[in-house]
C-alpha cells in the first residue's frame, strides 16, 4: 500500500439497481472504477465489475487436507512407534477409531485456515483503521469510487458528468 495520500472521487447511490446500472455505464464508457462499496453483498455485481472468482474455497480444501493428514499421521506415529499401548487387545494401528479425530482435525484446520486467510488478504485485523469514505456506506448508500489523485481536470469533470448521468444522489471528493 502506498503511504502517500490518495484523492478519491466517489458517488453515492440510493439503490443497488442504480448502482449496477452505473457500473454497466462505467464499463461502456471505459471508466476505471477504483472500488465499489455496499452495505450488503449485492448479487450480480461481481461479473459486471469484472471480479474474478475467489479462490478461498480451494485453499479451504488444501487446509482441510493438511488437517486430515496431520491428525491421522500424528495418531499413527504416536500409537505405532512413539508409545504403542494395547487397548482391549486391539491392533496398535486401529484405523476406524482414528476416523472421528481425523474428521475433526480436517474441519478445524480448514475453518481456521480459511478465516485467517480471509482476514489477511482483506487486510483486516483488530485495530486496523477502516478507510471509510462515508459513514452511510454501511447503512443504506451504495458507493462507486474513482482514484483521481493524478487525474487531469478534464477527467474529473467527465466523472462528474458520469455521476449525474447515472443518478448518483451525492458526489464528493475525499483525500485519504
Amino acid at each position: 500500500m502506498a503511504a502517500e495520500s490518495k484523492k478519491v472521487l466517489y458517488g453515492l447511490y440510493n439503490d443497488e439497481e442504480d448502482l449496477k446500472g452505473a457500473v454497466r455505464t462505467a464499463n461502456s464508457d471505459h471508466l476505471d472504477i477504483m472500488d465499489v462499496f455496499t452495505p450488503f453483498p449485492v448479487h450480480g455485481l461481481d461479473p459486471i465489475l469484472g471480479l474474478k472468482e475467489s479462490r478461498l474455497h480451494i485453499l479451504g480444501f488444501i487446509y482441510g487436507a493438511t488437517g486430515a493428514l496431520f491428525g491421522f499421521l500424528a495418531m499413527t506415529w504416536i500409537f505405532t512407534s512413539d508409545w504403542p499401548i494395547v487397548f482391549g487387545g486391539k491392533p496398535f494401528w486401529s484405523v476406524p477409531a482414528f476416523i472421528p479425530i481425523t474428521f475433526e482435525m480436517t474441519v478445524l484446520f480448514s475453518a481456521w485456515g480459511m478465516t485467517i486467510t480471509f482476514y489477511t488478504v482483506c487486510g483486516m485485523w483488530p485495530g486496523v483503521k477502516a478507510k471509510t469514505l462515508d459513514n452511510r456506506i454501511t447503512d443504506d448508500k451504495f458507493c462507486i469510487a474513482f482514484d483521481v489523485t493524478d487525474a487531469p481536470e478534464g477527467d474529473v469533470s467527465k466523472l462528474q458528468g458520469f455521476f449525474s448521468k447515472t443518478g448518483a444522489a451525492e458526489v464528493n471528493v475525499k483525500t485519504m
Partner: protein, 476 residues
C-alpha cells in the same frame, strides 16, 4: 442464476422497511441505555451466576464427594446437564449452516442470536466434564501435547477423547462463523457511533469497509464454513452419543444412538431458540424482523424432530424386545417401569406427546403456546438424558450394587447456575451487538419485505423490478 419468487412466499420483514429503517431498528438496542426490564433480568442472571461460582468453588474445595455420585451411578446430573447443554448448542449452527445451504431465507431473522446462543450453551456444557474430572487444575491433560511423562499420550481410541476434539472444534469453528458474520454489522454500529464507542467498534470490526471484493470473499467464506459446519454439527452429537453407544452397558450400546441424539439435539436447540426469540423480539421490539412466520417455521422443525425422537424411543423398545437378549430387555423394562419410571413418562409426555399440538396451524402461530411448549420441551429433553444415564446405571449387572441417586444441593446449584451463566452472556450480547444480522436482512429485503411480496405489496413502487409476482432475483 436467477430464480422467480413465488407470490406465496412468506413475508419475513414487516413494516414497509427501507434499508435505513433496518439499520436504525437493529442498531438501536445497542445504542440506548438498557431498559428497566433488562436491568432486572440481568441482575437475576448475575445472581445465578454467583450461585454457580459458589457451587463450583465448593466442589473444587471439597472434592467431587460433595456430589451424590456413587460407585454404581458414577454419571448423574453432571453428564445429564452436559449432554443437555450440548444439545441446545446445536440449533445455532444448524440454522446458520444447514439452512444456509438449503437457501432458507427465514434463517436471517434468527441466525445471529441462535449462533450466539450456541456459543454460550457450549461454554455451559463444557463446565460439567471439566469439573467432573475432579482435579480441575490438571484438566489440560486431556489434550495431547509433548510432555515430560514419557511423553505419555492420551488414548485416541476413546470416545471421551473424541468428545474433547469434537467439542473444542465445534466451539472454535462456531465462534469463527459467528464472528465473521458479525464483522460487517459491527462496522455498521461503528459508523453510527462516536467517541469511545466508535474506538471500541473500530477495534472489533477489524477495519471493514464493505468493498465489493471483500463481500465476495466474505460470502465464499460463509458458504464454505457452512459446508464444513454441517457435517461438524452432525458429528458433535454423534460423538457425544458414542460416549454411551461404544460402551458395553445394556441400554447404552445401541446403534440408533447417533441419529437419535442428533434429532434430539436439534429438537432441544430449536426449543431453546424459541424460548429466547419470543422474549427477545418482544423486549427489543423486533417483531417485524422475527415474525410469526419465523416462529412457525421453527415450530415445524420442532414437530418434525420431536416425532423423529418419538420414533427412536419406540424403536429402542422394539429392538430390545426383538433382540431376545435378556439384559437389554431388562434395561428397557427397568427404564419404563423401574424406580425412575416418572422420568421416563415425563420424557415421553414432554418430547413426544406435547409437540404434536404443533400440527395445528393456530397453535404453531401462537406466541404463548410456542413459549409454553418450548419450556416443556426443554424439560423433556433434560429428562431424556437423565433417563438414559441414571436409570441405566442404577440397575447394572450385579443386583448387590444396585443403587438410587438423587442430587445434592451442590449439583442442583451448579445446574441452575449454568442457566445464570448462559443468560448473563446472552444478555450482554444483546447490548453490544445487533441480535439480528443487519446485512443479511437487507440482502433479502426485496424478496421478503412486505412492501414487495405478500397481500400488502405495493404494485407500483417506482422501480420495475419490484413487481411482486413476476420478479426475478439474482441468486448467483
Amino acid at each position: 442464476m436467477s430464480q422467480p419468487v413465488a407470490p406465496v412466499r412468506h413475508v419475513l420483514i414487516e413494516g414497509n422497511k427501507s434499508y435505513h429503517n433496518i439499520t436504525e431498528d437493529l442498531c438501536t438496542p445497542t445504542e440506548k441505555a438498557p431498559s428497566r426490564e433488562w436491568i432486572i433480568a440481568f441482575s437475576i442472571a448475575t445472581a445465578f451466576l454467583g450461585l454457580y461460582i459458589f457451587a463450583i468453588t465448593w466442589t473444587v474445595w471439597k472434592g467431587i464427594g460433595s456430589w451424590n455420585l456413587n460407585r454404581t451411578i458414577n454419571w448423574g446430573w453432571d453428564i445429564t446437564n452436559f449432554v443437555w447443554w450440548i444439545g441446545i448448542g446445536h440449533a445455532g449452527t444448524l440454522i446458520s449452516a444447514i439452512l444456509l445451504l438449503f437457501r432458507q431465507r427465514w434463517r436471517t431473522g434468527v441466525n445471529r442470536a441462535a449462533e450466539a446462543m450456541t456459543i454460550f450453551a457450549v461454554i455451559c456444557a463444557g463446565q460439567f466434564p471439566i469439573f467432573h474430572m475432579g482435579r480441575v487444575w490438571l484438566a489440560f491433560f486431556i489434550f495431547p501435547f509433548p510432555n515430560t511423562r514419557g511423553p505419555l499420550w492420551v488414548n485416541f481410541n476413546s470416545p471421551l477423547l473424541w468428545d474433547v476434539f469434537a467439542i473444542s472444534t465445534y466451539f472454535s469453528v462456531s465462534l469463527l462463523f459467528w464472528y465473521t458474520g458479525l464483522v460487517p454489522d459491527l462496522a455498521t454500529v461503528r459508523d453510527r457511533a462516536t467517541g469511545f464507542r466508535r474506538k471500541m467498534y473500530e477495534i472489533f470490526s477489524f477495519g471493514w469497509t464493505g468493498s465489493a471484493k471483500h463481500w465476495q470473499r466474505w460470502e465464499y467464506l460463509s458458504l464454505v464454513l457452512a459446508g464444513i459446519s454441517t457435517p461438524l454439527v452432525l458429528s458433535v452429537h454423534t460423538i457425544v452419543s458414542f460416549d454411551f453407544a461404544t460402551s458395553v452397558v445394556p441400554g447404552w450400546h445401541t446403534t440408533i444412538f447417533p441419529p437419535y441424539f442428533v434429532a434430539g439435539a436439534i429438537f432441544s436447540g430449536f426449543a431453546m431458540v424459541q424460548t429466547l426469540m419470543v422474549i427477545t423480539r418482544k423486549v427489543l421490539k423486533l417483531e417485524e424482523y422475527i415474525t410469526i412466520n419465523h416462529i412457525e417455521s421453527m415450530n415445524k422443525v420442532i414437530v418434525l424432530t420431536g416425532t423423529i425422537v418419538g420414533v427412536a424411543y419406540l424403536t429402542e423398545l422394539f429392538i430390545a424386545w426383538y433382540s431376545g437378549y435378556i439384559y437389554e430387555q431388562f434395561a428397557f423394562y427397568n427404564r419404563v417401569f423401574g424406580i425412575y419410571w416418572w422420568a421416563y413418562f415425563g420424557m415421553m409426555f414432554c418430547n413426544v406427546v406435547s409437540p404434536q399440538v404443533f400440527w395445528a396451524r393456530k397453535i404453531r402461530r401462537s406466541i404463548w403456546w410456542t413459549f409454553f411448549l418450548s419450556i416443556i420441551i426443554n424439560i423433556g429433553m433434560w429428562f431424556e438424558r437423565f433417563v438414559i444415564i441414571a436409570t441405566t446405571l442404577a440397575r447394572d449387572f450385579l443386583p448387590s450394587s444396585w443403587s438410587y441417586y438423587s442430587p445434592t444441593w451442590v449439583e442442583i446449584s451448579i445446574f441452575v447456575g449454568t442457566i445464570g451463566l448462559f443468560f448473563f452472556c446472552y444478555m450482554i450480547f444483546t447490548r453490544v451487538a445487533p441480535v439480528v444480522a443487519i446485512a443479511e436482512v437487507k440482502a433479502i429485503l426485496k424478496v421478503a419485505g412486505d412492501q414487495y411480496i405478500g397481500p400488502n405489496a405495493k404494485k407500483t413502487h417506482g422501480h420495475a423490478h419490484t413487481e411482486p409476482a413476476a420478479k426475478k432475483v439474482d441468486e448467483a
